[in-house]
């Protein structure tokens, strides 16, 4: 691993998560992965459904408890300082819905407050977000009445309401139409430019290629490769990320034997 230029915002060290299954006993969903993410970079986790992406990100968001290993977010341990960890990150996924009966503005106020943003500065912060994401027109409309594109904007604004230094986007483009997906990618680049550390998971190669400074290829709970796109190209001799990915995964599968069984995936599908 290269020496970090900045202090890492996210530091993951030999993180493991097993689920207990009666027939197979302990099944590792995440099997000893280590990586770091720095301010101002987008770190991409690339993997098929069930590779362990969501489980990893949920451990970072403290919703799941690691079986072993450690992870810190802005220096706070995910197990012992979970509240501080959650204060320093924004978590976005297809399964983090909004409260339908709140208005857009109330949503942003609510999440800014419960994430510990200084109460006196909340209105100004919300105004800023409303302008930035072009929510002004419908800021007093209830979320249930908004279109999916509007909801997506509110949802992203909700994620960064408390201006956290670390952002996690777990398969954010799943289920979005093309225009909304493009918008999402644009927002993430902006966040990177703001100096945020962004963790991004996807199985869509083109997005990862375009967006990520460094890429981790995750397969069956293990990190098969880690590096910039150029480093990965160099290591495999392939140009396109898709080919690079296939190369790593088939090498690994060839070594490890059969493909995972039909019910072998422990992780819930985010879509």
């Amino acid at each position: 691993m290269t020496t970090p230029l900045h202090t890492p915002a996210v530091l993951v060290d030999d993180l493991r998560k097993s689920f207990f299954e009666e027939e197979r006993g302990e099944v590792p969903a995440v099997d000893g992965i280590s990586f770091e993410a720095r301010p101002g970079e987008v770190f991409g986790l690339l993997g098929a459904n069930g590779a362990g992406k969501t489980t990893t990100l949920r451990m970072l968001s403290t919703v799941l408890r690691p079986t072993s290993g450690s992870a810190t977010v802005m220096g706070h341990d995910v197990v012992t300082e979970s509240e501080k960890v959650r204060q320093s990150l924004g978590f976005y996924s297809a399964s983090t819905a909004l409260y339908p009966r709140l208005t857009a503005r109330e949503t942003l106020e609510f999440f800014a407050r419960i994430n510990g943003y200084p109460p006196s500065r909340v209105p100004a912060r919300v105004d800023e977000l409303v302008d930035r994401f072009g929510i002004r027109e419908y800021e007093h409309g209830r979320v249930e009445k908004l279109s999916s594109g509007m909801k997506q904007k509110v949802s992203i604004a909700r994620t960064i309401a408390h201006d956290p230094p670390v952002l996690i986007f777990d398969e954010p483009t799943v289920g979005l139409d093309v225009m909304n997906a493009i918008e999402m990618v644009k927002v993430i680049s902006e966040l990177k430019a703001d100096g945020k550390a962004v963790l991004y998971s996807s199985h869509i190669m083109s997005e990862v290629e375009k967006l990520c400074d460094r890429i981790g290829i995750l397969h069956r709970g293990r990190l098969l490769a880690l590096g910039t796109l150029d480093e990965l190209r160099e290591a495999t001799g392939e140009h396109y990320l898709e080919d690079i990915f296939v190369r790593f995964v088939t090498d690994e599968s060839g070594a490890a034997g059969a493909l995972p069984g039909a019910f072998g995936e422990l992780e819930s599908d985010a879509s």
Partner: protein, 670 residues
Amino acid sequence: MIGPLLRNELRMLLRDTRTILIAVVAPVVLVPGYILLTGAVDDRESARLDSATYTWALVGDEIAWGERTVEAALALPADSGEAETIFERTAVMAELDPEAVERRTELADSLLEAGEIQVVVVARQARAEDSLDVATPVLSLRYRSGSDLSRSARGRLENRLERYRETVRDALYASAGFPVDRSDVAVVVDDNVATAAKEGGRFLARFLLPLVVMLMLAGGSIIAADTISGEKERGTLETLLTSAAGRSEIVRAKLLAIIVVGLAVVVVNVANLGLYLTIGILEVPEGLALDLSFGQLGLLVLIFVPLAGLVAAALLLISGFAKSYREYQLYQPVLFLAFLLPSLAALLPGLELQSVVVLVPIAGLSVATGAVLAGGWSLPWGLAAIASTSIAALLLLRWVEIVLSNERLITSASWDEADFRGGAALFPRHVLTWFLTLWVLFFLVSLWFGDALGVRGQIVVNLVGVFLGGSAWLVHRYRLDPVEVLSLRAPGWTSWPAVLVGAPSFLVLGIGVAQLVNTYLFPVPQSLLEAFSEGLTLNLGVLQLLFFLALMPGVLEEIAFRGVLLHGLRRRLASPWIAAIACGAVFGLFHVSLFRIVPTGLLGIMLALVVLRTRSIYPAMLWHFLNNALALVPAELEWIEADVVIPAWGYAVAAAGLVTSFLLLRPAQR
């Protein structure tokens, strides 16, 4: 941080217009509407009945006498308080020959059926079925209960006839030389020395708590259904859990929201009731008045606070367990019943505040409410009742927090696989249901075949049929590995001396605990204890006693409880300690005699710990056998007195023995 969370919950509820309309506004508007409407209908109906003309017919073989009597009765002036009623004899019957009794009766009945007439007077000789001991003529009134008019006619005519009878009787007395002024005859009047306020208190004492419980449950449900199960369904739970708000803050905010809404509904309904009483839509029952002192009100508030907490925590818990709205609604009626039954404790005659009931959440409060309102209040006992419900509320709250920390909330997908794969993965989720089934079976056997089977027969059927058979069925049904499920492996060798020391030590300590409880907590009446120990005397002889009550339970109950049940619970529950406690609780419930639940439950926990520590079932079997044998045989052979007193050093030795034993319990070296 609780502030914004709570505000958010309430704001979202208030925006849910349909829920507010249906759950709060509708009852408030509909109840007076209903009362007014039924009142108006009643008024109209009674006006109609008062102004109606009632037609009657006369039949029977004593028609001349009957005609005289009825006409005379109708000629009496209306009594005070009785409405002036117009009776008219039907003209249709006039043409018929008075002697044609049967034809007249037929015609009268058909007229009655057709509604042409309202009542038929049958004047006849008394018959055997009238159960009159004199042979006088009888007037029997035939009417049609399906018709309001006919019913009313019968009642009014009967009143008249009764009054006529009194008049005639008075006249007879007078003519026989007994001048009777009716007011001289003693008239019995009730005179209750209790004041109306006391009566009101007694009335309220019975119904106040159940009423508040129901209103709290109904009111709290409005928001509880939405608060966790709704969040799961809408997918907002993960959003909330990834925010900086802590789990306990989320739980507390949601709890407060439920309490606020529940109390608001209680207040709205009580105010509504007060309003009706004030403006006279409803009337206070006669002889009741409400007169509460500030002291009483203060105590009631003190009682209702933990009640509100417990109700809210229970609602929150089922909301946390339920995966969806629909599932929540499934649990709700069960919860309502579970709360309503203990809240009715004040209705039980003879149940006093100074008793074990204070330890039962809600039931204790119910009796305490009764004591505050109707007398019998005692501060320490009342506080004990408040404490028991408060503790229950806190435990439930803690449980909700654990439920919210449960990873399955978020990663439900991995668990739903079990539904696909079936078999062993499903077993931990079904194990308690199966044991409930076994429990029912167990009791049906005792209930239906108890007498026929005799003691030995019952033991054999229950142990072999229910426990062993049930275990075998479960192992087969879920394709479980018997060695794994029943822990059929050798323990570490030190476990054997450990059991030999541990079992008698545990038994001695058990006696000590039972005596402590008996002396200080809630004294069990001596007569009950004697009756109980008599029930244990079986006259079986030592060898049979050992076989039926020590060896068989030792082996077969261990297979069912520390084998199958514990295997399932261990995979269901996070901590082995909780699994052991749950296992003990279920075991205790199978020994339903009230005085045995707790000691058997403790034994069950101990045996579960033995299995968990040694990873083998055999030491637990030996322990169980020794425990039962030592408890029964010395008493049976009269080696010891029934009320033997164990000295303090005996307990000290036993405690040391149990600790040593626990340390020596080891799994086999691998």
